[in-house]
Amino acid sequence: MSNQTNVKLRLSNSELWGGLIGLALGGFVIWSGLKLRLGTINDPGSGYVLFYTGILMCVFAGAIIVSAVTEGGPTLASRWENVRWSKPLLVIACLTAFSFALEPLGFLLSSIPLMLLLLRLIDPVRWTLAVPIAVLVPSGMWWVLKRLLLIQLPSGLFGIG
C-alpha cells in the first residue's frame, strides 16, 4: 500500500474512524446498562450483560484505535478507489426514498418507480425491457400476495394496491 493510502495519525485513517465509532457505541451501551440497573452478581439485573458487553466493546474498539495509530490504516478514500462508488450510493438513495414513500404511497406506487430506477441505474437495461419488468414484476408479486396468499400489502393514502 502506498503512503498516500496508508496513514497513521490522520483524520482520513479509516481504521481510526471505525474504532472511534465502536468506542462511542460501547460508551452508549455502558450508559444504557447503568440506566437499566446492574443488580448484583447473585441476582444480575436487566443492565448487567449490557454493561459488561459495553466494556468489552470499548476494549476492542480501543485495540482497533491503538492499531490504527501505531500500524496505520487505509484512508477512507482508498476504500472506494477503483470502484464505481456512485452506483451503491445511487441504490442507497433509491432505497432511502423508497422507505419513506412506502407507507404514504403504498406498495405499487413506490415499488414500480424503485424497480425502474434500479434497472436503469445499476447497469442500464434498455427502456423497452426496463419498463415492462418494472411494471409487471411488482404488479405480479402484488397479485400473487394479495389475491392468492391473502397478504395485505401497504395501499397508501390513495388506497392503490
Binding site: 448484583t40 452478581i41 450483560v49 423508497f98 445499476i122 411488482p138
Partner: protein
C-alpha cells in the same frame, strides 16, 4: 434396531408429497444460489425464511436445509466453469477445478465434485443418525454454565476464523449481542434499548437484520464492479470420471469427508474452513504437490467432499444442543423458533417425526442433487449467462417483500434497509457481518444462561471453571483469544481466515 425404526419413520415423513416438493424446492434453490456468484446460501435462506411460515415445520425446515447443502453442490459448478466461487466454500475448488476445465476436463471435474459431494453427504447423514441421539442424551445433563461456555466458544471460534482483524470481529460479536438484547428482558420484563418505540418491544427481527446485512449489502457491494465472467464455452462431456480419476480421488474423498464432518461439528467452524483444510491436507500428503494448482483432481475431490460433510456435521450441535455452530445454522434455528420449536436435547424424543424426517429428507435431497447437478448441468451453465443488472433489482424487490410478509410491518422494511446500508459500510471498512449475526442469535440465550448460572451458583464465578465441560470450553476460547497475539499463530490464522458471508 431403534435407529432403523426411526429412519423408517423419518422416510415416512420425508416421502410425503408436500415434503418431497419442499425438499426439491430447497435443493433447487440451493443449487441456483450456489451457481450464481454473489448470492450465497445465507442470503437465500434469509430471503426464504418467511416462506417457511406458510407450511408445516417439517416442510419449512426441510426446504431451508436443502438450500444449505444444495448450495455446496452448486458452488462447485461456477468455480470450475467460470473461476468465480459460487459461494465461499467453493473458493478453493477454483484453483484446480478451473485449470481442469481449461484443459478440457470440465466433465470429470464436475463429475468427481458431484460424486464426492454425494459420498460425503451420505456419510455425514449416517454419522448424524448415529451421533446425534447419543449426544442428545448426554446433553440433557448440561446446565446453564455449560451452555453459556459452549456458546462463548462458538462465538470466539467464529471471530477467530473471520477475515480481517480479530478485535474487529469481536467488536462485531459484541454489537450482535447488544442488538439481540433489544426488547423486553426475559426475566424482569423491563424494556431495553427500545427508545420508546412499540415496534421494538419484541426485539429486532432476525429476518430484517439478516436480509439487510447479507441480501441488500451484498447487492450494494456487487454494484460497485461490473462482474466479468470467463465461462468455459466448450461442450461438457465425460461427466463420469475415468478409472485413474477414481483411483486418484478415492483417498481425498475419504479424508475430506472425515475431516469435513468433524470440522462441521465444531462451533464456529463450517464448510468454508473444511474445504481449505482438506486442500491443504491433500497437498501435504501428495507425492507430487507441484501438480496442485495445475489441474489436480485431488484438489477438487477433497475440498468438495469436505464442504458437504461439514454441511451435514453442522446439524449436530444445532439439533442436539440447540446451539447453531455457524450463521447458516443460526438461520435454521430462526426457522425452528418461528414454528415455536426449540432444538436441543429433547427435540429427538419430543419431535421424532421432525428430527428423523429432516434427516431422511437430506438423504433424498442428496439423490435429487446428484440428478440436478450431473444430467442437468447444461441448464446451470445457461443460468450463468443471466444478466446481473436485472437480477440485482429483483433481489432487492424480493427482500422487501420477504421482510414485509414475515411481519406485515413496514417498520421491518425500514430496519432491513438501514441494516443493508450499515452492512455495506461495515464491509467496506473491513468489518464482517457473520460474527454479528451469530451473536445476535446467541446473545439472548447467552444472557439467559449466564444470569441463570450466576443465580444458581449464588454469584460464584468459579462455577464456569469447575464444571469440566464449561472449563474446557472457556480454556479453548481463551487460547483462541490470546493466539493472534503470537506472531506465528497470527500468520496461521490469516491463512485460514475466510469471508463466511460470501
Amino acid at each position: 434396531m431403534d435407529t432403523l425404526v426411526n429412519v423408517a419413520h423419518g422416510f415416512g415423513v420425508a416421502l410425503l408429497p408436500i415434503n418431497l416438493l419442499y425438499c426439491f424446492i430447497g435443493v433447487f434453490i440451493g443449487t441456483l444460489v450456489g451457481v450464481l456468484p454473489g448470492i450465497g446460501p445465507i442470503s437465500a435462506m434469509s430471503l426464504l425464511l418467511p416462506v417457511t411460515l406458510s407450511g408445516t415445520p417439517e416442510s419449512g425446515i426441510i426446504m431451508m436445509a436443502g438450500i444449505y447443502y444444495g448450495s455446496m453442490y452448486g458452488g462447485s459448478t461456477t468455480s470450475i466453469l467460470v473461476n468465480i466461487p459460487g459461494e465461499a466454500a467453493s473458493v478453493v475448488t477454483c484453483i484446480d477445478g478451473h485449470q481442469m476445465a481449461k484443459q478440457g476436463r470440465a466433465g470429470p471435474a464436475l463429475g468427481i465434485s458431484a460424486f464426492g459431494s454425494f459420498a460425503a453427504g451420505t456419510f455425514a447423514l449416517i454419522a448424524l443418525m448415529l451421533v446425534a441421539p447419543k449426544l442428545a442424551s448426554i446433553a440433557i445433563a448440561f446446565g446453564p454454565a455449560e451452555y453459556f461456555s459452549l456458546m462463548a466458544l462458538g462465538l470466539v471460534v467464529l471471530t477467530f476464523l473471520t477475515q480481517g482483524s480479530m478485535p474487529k470481529a469481536l467488536l462485531m460479536a459484541c454489537i450482535g449481542v447488544v442488538l439481540g438484547l433489544v426488547g423486553l428482558d426475559s426475566i424482569t420484563a423491563q424494556p431495553r434499548l427500545t427508545f420508546g418505540r412499540m415496534e421494538l418491544i419484541d426485539g429486532i427481527g432476525l429476518v430484517p437484520v439478516v436480509m439487510g446485512l447479507f441480501g441488500v449489502a451484498e447487492v450494494l457491494l456487487n454494484t460497485e464492479q461490473a462482474i466479468k465472467r470467463d465461462i468455459i464455452n466448450t461442450r461438457i462431456t465425460h461427466l463420469l470420471p475415468s478409472k485413474e480419476d477414481w483411483k486418484a480421488s478415492a483417498g481425498p474423498v475419504g479424508r475430506g469427508t472425515i475431516l469435513g464432518f468433524f470440522l462441521g461439528i465444531l462451533p464456529g467452524g463450517g464448510a468454508v474452513v473444511a474445504s481449505f483444510a482438506s486442500y491443504a491436507l491433500e497437498k501435504r500428503l501428495s507425492k507430487t504437490p507441484e501438480r496442485f494448482g495445475q489441474g489436480a483432481i485431488e484438489g477438487v475431490a477433497g475440498p468438495e467432499s469436505a464442504n458437504n460433510a461439514a454441511a451435514g456435521g453442522a446439524f449436530i450441535p444445532l439439533m442436539t444442543l440447540g446451539i447453531p455452530p455457524n450463521v447458516v445454522m443460526a438461520l435454521l434455528l430462526g426457522a425452528f423458533v418461528i414454528h415455536g420449536l426449540q432444538p436441543g436435547p429433547l427435540l429427538i424424543t419430543q419431535n421424532p417425526g421432525l428430527f428423523w424426517g429432516i434427516v431422511a429428507s437430506m438423504y433424498i435431497g442428496n439423490v435429487m442433487l446428484l440428478i440436478l447437478n450431473l444430467p442437468m448441468i447444461g441448464m446451470w451453465v445457461q443460468l450463468l449467462k443471466l444478466p446481473y443488472n436485472i437480477l440485482f433489482p429483483l433481489i432487492i424487490l424480493f427482500t422487501i417483500l420477504g421482510v414485509y410478509c414475515s411481519s406485515n410491518n413496514v417498520f421491518d422494511v425500514h430496519v432491513m434497509i438501514a441494516f443493508g446500508i450499515i452492512g455495506y459500510f461495515m464491509r467496506k471498512l473491513g468489518y464482517e457481518p457473520a460474527p454479528l449475526v451469530l451473536a445476535f442469535v446467541l446473545g439472548p440465550m447467552m444472557e439467559n444462561n449466564l444470569r441463570k448460572s450466576l443465580i444458581l451458583s449464588q454469584g460464584d464465578l468459579w462455577t464456569f471453571v469447575q464444571r469440566p465441560i464449561s472449563g474446557v470450553c472457556l480454556t479453548l476460547a481463551l487460547v483462541l483469544l490470546i493466539a493472534p497475539l503470537l506472531p506465528s499463530l497470527r500468520k496461521k490464522r490469516e491463512l485460514v481466515a475466510l469471508d463466511e458471508g460470501a
